[in-house]
Point group: C2
Chain length 430, copies 2
Amino acid sequence: MKIPSVKGTRDFYPPDMTIRNFIVDGWKAVSLRNGFEEYDGPIFEYLKMFQMKSGDEIVEQLFSLQDRGGRELAIRPEITPTLARMVNQQINSLPRPIKWFSVPRLCRAERPQKGRLREFFQWNIDIIGVYDVLADAEVIFCVLDYLQQVRLTPEDIVVKISSRKMLAAILLSIGIARKELEPLYALLDKRGKLPPETFEELLAEKVVDESKRKKIIELMNAETIEQISDFVKSYAAAKEAVDELRRLFELLEVMGVAEFCRFDIGIVRGLAYYTGIVYEIYDKASELRAIGGGGRYDDLLKQFGGPAIPATGVGIGDCVLAILLEEKGLLEKQLSSPKLDYFVACVDKELFENAIGITMKLRRGGLAACFSYKTSGLSKQLKEASFRNAKNCIIIGEEFKNNEIAVKDMSTGNQQLIGVDKFFSQLESK
Amino acid sequence: MKIPSVKGTRDFYPPDMTIRNFIVDGWKAVSLRNGFEEYDGPIFEYLKMFQMKSGDEIVEQLFSLQDRGGRELAIRPEITPTLARMVNQQINSLPRPIKWFSVPRLCRAERPQKGRLREFFQWNIDIIGVYDVLADAEVIFCVLDYLQQVRLTPEDIVVKISSRKMLAAILLSIGIARKELEPLYALLDKRGKLPPETFEELLAEKVVDESKRKKIIELMNAETIEQISDFVKSYAAAKEAVDELRRLFELLEVMGVAEFCRFDIGIVRGLAYYTGIVYEIYDKASELRAIGGGGRYDDLLKQFGGPAIPATGVGIGDCVLAILLEEKGLLEKQLSSPKLDYFVACVDKELFENAIGITMKLRRGGLAACFSYKTSGLSKQLKEASFRNAKNCIIIGEEFKNNEIAVKDMSTGNQQLIGVDKFFSQLESK
């Protein structure tokens, strides 16, 4: 009986796993050199933890399950609530700033599309305990450190940055009520994907007053921070948020990544818990979904029962990133195929156990080695050695009666006879 | 509102993550040097895939869920069915033997106990396409290569080995019907954990004939392969299985790991799909649950709709292993704490942006570097450098007006002034 895999999930055959490892290992290495420490949480949590503060979009996409006691659980669709829970739990003993990263496996019950699957991996980096926009800048730098490391340039990608704090201040000053902000964010977040008429129709459902709607549309058409500055002249809170945004761009300049970054008031983010700077990373041609996005969520830890501690972070998925790297031809250039140090060929059945013994000794010494399961002809085994990408091939044949083996360099084809003991003592001295 | 984590799951704070990474990275490195390639499957599959061939024990422990179309899914409790599915899917293009490994995250709805959690990681290595017991030996070697690498010795651990093929042949020869074998295996697998009277009572429920029961009890008391040999003299199929078991031990001798291994007829394994050699790895003192176990499952690929292809493999969990390493004092000796290459201290607020710029330049050069978020006194920042385990501390102060920085070696305390450009060009030449 044949059972298929579930739609929207992936099977990682060894070549796919090589790509996933290339991406994930890079995330880990860059996080560490940027001073972040790795953490992880469970794959499932109590359902209500994800329903509390993330907003409707993500709640609709939850895979929920029950444990045997009937408790409602869900597979994690994001790791930020887990992060908030974990940090709150040890808040008194963790030295701040807390700089943590994780590479969680996440699941969302979405309709599978290009770059959007029901199961994916997401690089998360977060700084907790810093109010200063410097922390937002450092997180953005870290993402760009990685994206540059995999050879993406300002020709390939762009970080579009805005501020929820600024947006909130302006919307409040226009006369939108605080409780109307969250549903409005959800609509503004989708604006880029909607035809202008549809957007205006949906906006009319949420904002009855036409003059307010006009102001919102005017605001969302602003293209530079300067245009916003004119707009907010008279609102102190909005002015403060604009100044913060300006400072962020100065810091990104200091960090050497400004050419990747630009202001875009259209960036609002789908998650409900953002409170300050928000941003999304896109391919420059805007042909793909967002590679990732993040922002500041200063209230979340408190909402999860902890003290009021500021926080900012980003999430980068593996799906769109892999598509972009593939399309730019950057994967094949950087993927290294696994190499065996030694392939051990044996041309005499009687000596097969010696081939096994030598292989195992090489492995115990830390070297990648394989024997051939078939003691067939030498040329077949050499083919296998070359197929397995072996650097060297050890040949065990007639000379073994003198306790000697032939070692063939697979790149040059050079071959030399050497005593077994001498061979291993040479290896050891290396 | 505070929400706890789900019982039986783990939060991996950075120190816990260091242990998990030490274990998982070791599994990966040893797999690769033993010639295995990495694969992975989805975290959930169709529920029925796990109900088909794994046996009752694991079916009772499934975390099941539904997707939005109402399809029944389950979080994977083991990866072998996924492996069978994936291999069957590409069976015509995969060169054999297929030597694959994986480190899946698995979930089982069990009652949490010491060494047994509801979510865990399991190292899986499998060889597909080899009938010869040599493949079983290679899998066992690979496990022992790892366990020796983390410094466990024959004083610490033992691999207890038996054969389902042998057990089946003997039970059939005693007169047990083929369809009674599977429920009988489940009982025999639990025998070691039951008082003898309880075992005999339960056995009486499954085997009505007293003389058969006596033979089974006599068989299960055998301590060596020799004692079994006497037992099976007249049954050809059993004799063949005993010979195979003997050959396995010879190969383990050739591979240099025989002193870790011994015959134990009590090893039956809980999973239903085993067909040949079976084994479990235990701490020598037998104080913990099994570290792992495996065996041959020659029929599984066929049962999953593929061709008849032999297979053998093992699974090692992270929970018991971590407890054992901890108890033996082997963790602290081998865990390396993460190190920063440079901590950048800045004692003049006006120069802070320079500190940031230098830090980011170090990171872009591949070095682990951090700046201090607080430009407080130097002694405080040096303390932070030492707390963050920095090898060197760069001090940006008065001399920066001459474009110079002080570089302090944190282990020797030596400090030298150097021009910024010279410092970076020296780094580059390294």
